[in-house]
């Protein structure tokens, strides 16, 4: 089962290489000949969730991130691995807490995903990017 995203391989985002935690990411995806990405649906959902949590940890620090995700779970019933399936709920809570800061956080998350998936999503919204990653996976499954 493979998904051909068809995105142009990113050259990486300067300044983000040092701050991205790649744990669990590279082993789950592989680049095909044409620069396309091969990601299974389960892997991409899990991967997106963990990637978002890691990125949030980078922004907020460990303690505040733990509380944020606890509240996310209590209020929205959302664990990190489920974010990819319900990114709207995650985005709503971001806006509740961070107000206008939610936009900047989402842009950072998009950069992180672009870097991790080797693709350019910069002109898309956070919700579009997540839906595309996960939705694309479901279509091919």
């Amino acid at each position: 089962m493979s998904i051909l995203f068809g995105y142009v391989k990113s050259e990486g985002v300067r300044g983000i290489d040092a701050s991205i935690n790649r744990n669990g990411g590279q082993a789950e995806s592989s680049q095909t000949k044409g620069g396309d990405i091969d990601v299974s649906p389960k892997t991409s959902s899990d991967q997106v969730g963990h990637m978002i949590k890691d990125a949030m940890r980078k922004i907020l620090g460990d303690a505040a991130t733990a509380v944020f995700f606890k509240i996310l779970e209590n209020r929205k019933g959302l664990t990190p691995t489920e974010i990819a399936n319900r990114p709207e709920d995650f985005s709503t809570l971001l806006r509740d807490f961070f107000g206008s800061g939610a936009d900047a956080i989402e842009r950072y998350l998009i950069l992180t995903m672009s870097h991790e998936f080797g693709s350019r999503f910069s002109s898309r919204s956070f919700l579009e990017v997540v839906h595309e990653i996960v939705g694309g996976g479901n279509e091919s499954g």
Partner: protein, 323 residues
Amino acid sequence: MSLAERLTDSEAKVRILALYHGQPDAQLSISDLRSDLDLPQREIREALRDFLGIGLLRSEPAYFLDQTRDGELQQDLIREMQADRLKSQEMPWRKSRQRMDIPLLDGLVPHGFPAPASLLVLAEPECEKEVLCQQVAAAVWARGQMVIYATTEQDPHGVKLAISGMAGEGEESIMFLDMFSPQGEIPSTVELSEHPTDLTDVSIALAKLIERGAGLLILDSCSTLLDLNGADSTLKFLTSLTVRCMKKGCSLLLTLNRKAYEVAVVSRFQALADGIIELKADEDVFTGITTYLRISKLRGTGFDSRWIEYQVIHGMGFEKKEV
């Protein structure tokens, strides 16, 4: 603006946070940051200025993360998020939420004050609680709502002038009950006056004013009523007044000297109020008096309970003091 928003309100801030949290010991020059972040220089400089301002970053010899301050800010952020959780416990009978239009207070209650509500200002004498009352009166009046101002410690004329100074013309929308002048047996400068020992007459006078559709009743200060009538009578009067106000959709702002009474008495007042605003003053030989405000209770919405240092600007009121 909340701390969460302040920390993340630009892409440069988010990227800088991520950069330093990824490498907590990094020491980066401005050109390193410009090169790493690939963002407009102006945006980077603004982010750095703000982070230096709150002590998150230090700048000598290069920009580095103050990890102790970072830990403190994370704890503040956690408190802010936990306070925000309380908003889901909103009380169904509340009609609405309102901003006070006083940045110092609104900054502590990001989703607005429940309305109507009874708020108790517990203050030390040096804290100028009367200025806060006048500022709230001016803000409510500026929204086009009628205000009842019952004063026991100040001549209404002086209060009127102070509110006019904050709100401009139009203090006619503020109705005074003068309980100050009768204590000195001097003629009142306003239409309504009652002696604070005549709680029945005070109650009747206030009831008539509330019926006229006021949005806020200020009683400054309950300490006078307590001194003259004792705790039981005063609390009975205030309970009745609170019920009457809530039924009519009129919020209530009460004040009390927080140092003058036994803890048990103050606790009874605290239990009566929906919200408590505390004012305290610290004295230091070198720096003089420093005043602080915090919200220690607010039913029905989330709030930040930290002590905030404030200053009183004459003609304007309470303002957060930038440290």
